[in-house]
């Protein structure tokens, strides 16, 4: 245990924790959407993020495309891939009563993607190093990494766009309706396959955005995705399953918890404590930290 540190250190910890946590958050937003309509824990989300990171790396080293600029490619490709993944892999299983089937397809996809990446790029750690990778900027008087801050902005923008889509467009409202009650939604004429495919498309597009953030910030390897999926799940539970903006906030909280635990206790316990908080939230506040219960009729 450490003594109470000076405020600059606390600020530094909070800032770094929040910036890093936003990446869990954006992964969690994707999980939240997919879980919402399909009731599927899409365990392959982390693997898709790492796949996107490799893609970004290939674009950078192969074609010289700046990683942040590659968002313009990665996000549309993600939309298309998500749509295809749903139509090709999950469409049939979505109609089945037994949801183990979709879960296992997700697991199979995770294995497949992880190992394809190993075959193509090798199992070693990879990174994207640009001219600005090492540069820092000053926020609130604290120096922090430029790429992390960009990652945070990407997470914020991605989540913001998704929230706007869900709140302002009719199709977005249909997605929310389907998440709440699929049967009632079909009675409105909403096609489950359509909303599921939309959820998948957006979910994988967000994985693409997260991939850009990961590629520019951390070294990564083909198997780093699973832990990312787990962290995203924790963020999802903290924010309240089905609460999209909450998922981002949940990720940021998780990042803060990790930063504090690492500093005050030890790096070895960060995961246990993160999952402990996760369990506690599931048990005592399963609707998430941010739900405001309204008066029941």
């Amino acid at each position: 245990m450490q003594a109470i540190p000076p405020p600059e250190i606390l600020l530094q910890l909070s800032l770094n924790g929040a910036l890093g946590g936003a990446m869990y958050g954006v992964a969690a937003v994707g999980l939240s959407l997919i879980f919402g309509t399909m009731r599927l824990i899409f365990l392959a989300q982390g693997a898709m993020i790492i796949l996107a990171a490799y893609f970004v790396r290939a674009l950078f080293y192969g074609l010289g495309i700046d990683p942040f600029l590659s968002l313009l490619i990665v996000v549309p490709v993600g939309l298309g891939v998500g749509w295809l993944v749903y139509q090709g892999l999950f469409r049939r299983a979505a109609a089945e009563e037994d949801r183990n089937i979709s879960l296992l397809i997700a697991v199979g996809l995770m294995f497949l993607v992880q190992n394809l990446m190993t075959v193509v790029w090798g199992g070693n750690t990879a990174a994207v190093v640009t001219s600005y990778t090492a540069s820092g900027i000053e926020i609130l008087g604290v120096r922090t990494s430029f790429t992390r801050s960009m990652g945070f902005l990407i997470a914020l923008a991605g989540t913001g766009l998704v929230v706007l889509f869900l709140r302002k467009t009719l199709v977005g409202k249909a997605v929310r309706a389907a998440s709440e009650d699929m049967e009632a939604a079909t009675l409105m004429g909403i096609s489950p396959h359509r909303v599921n495919a939309i959820a998948f498309a957006i979910g994988i597009a967000l994985a693409g955005a997260a991939g850009v953030a990961v590629a520019t910030t951390f070294p990564f390897n083909p198997f780093a995705g699973f832990i990312f999926s787990l962290k995203a799940l924790v963020a999802l539970a903290l924010g309240g399953i089905g609460n999209v903006a909450g998922a981002l906030a949940g990720g940021i909280i998780l990042g803060l918890i990790e930063a504090y635990v690492q500093y005050f206790i030890s790096g070895g316990w960060t995961n246990a404590i993160a999952y402990g908080v996760f369990l506690a939230v599931l048990m005592f506040k399963p609707e998430g930290l941010f739900s405001r219960p309204y008066k029941k009729a």
Partner: protein, 242 residues
Amino acid sequence: MANRLLDVKNLEVAYGDVGALWGVSIHVDPGTIVAIVGANGAGKTTLLKTISGLLKPRRGEVLLAGVPLAGKAPEEIAGMGIAHVPEGRGLFRQMTVLENLELGAFQPKVRKHFKQSLEKAYVLFPRLKERAGQKAGSLSGGEQQMLAIARATMSDPSLLILDEPSLGLSPIVVQQMFALIETLHKQGVTILLVEQNIHQALKVADYGFVLKTGELAMQGTGAELIADPEIQKAYMGVLEVQ
């Protein structure tokens, strides 16, 4: 028989291996209110869900204006003009009243007329206008049921299916509900109504069917059924006492 709006023939439905409906046939003529009554567990909800495509029949068929609905998904059937207010209302409780109404007009065909439909709905359900921005889950039970019906009317359906709209409502609200059903009827809406509130239902209905443990036990005009001694004995005695 000539131009039946809905024709259900020899319907047989099962949950897994357990049968719930055996050879049930009913019909609804355009512009009428048809009631389906029967005890709890008789299979009323099962029948409605099969009509709107949520359940697939083992045998028999459903025709809407002569068009067979076999193999059609519920969202397609909704698009063909059936609006089903399910048991328990099926509101999107986390969404606002207005959003619920917008989703009622989700189908491309009716989306264009959203403004007019909304105005019409607000005339019929003024309370909903006041509460447009509130979450549906925060409404009272009666208001929620009104919203569910209002949402169903947004698609200007050719057949409106109501599954126990009076369930869990106070007697005064039940009266309002039945008054509303008659108003809708006068506006020309065809209604298929399931009720445990048998007396009330048969009073507003042009025609009625009695389901008993998955089979059709009786049918006739509302007045005939109300007057039937067996029905009075089996169902209404109990209900009047409540």
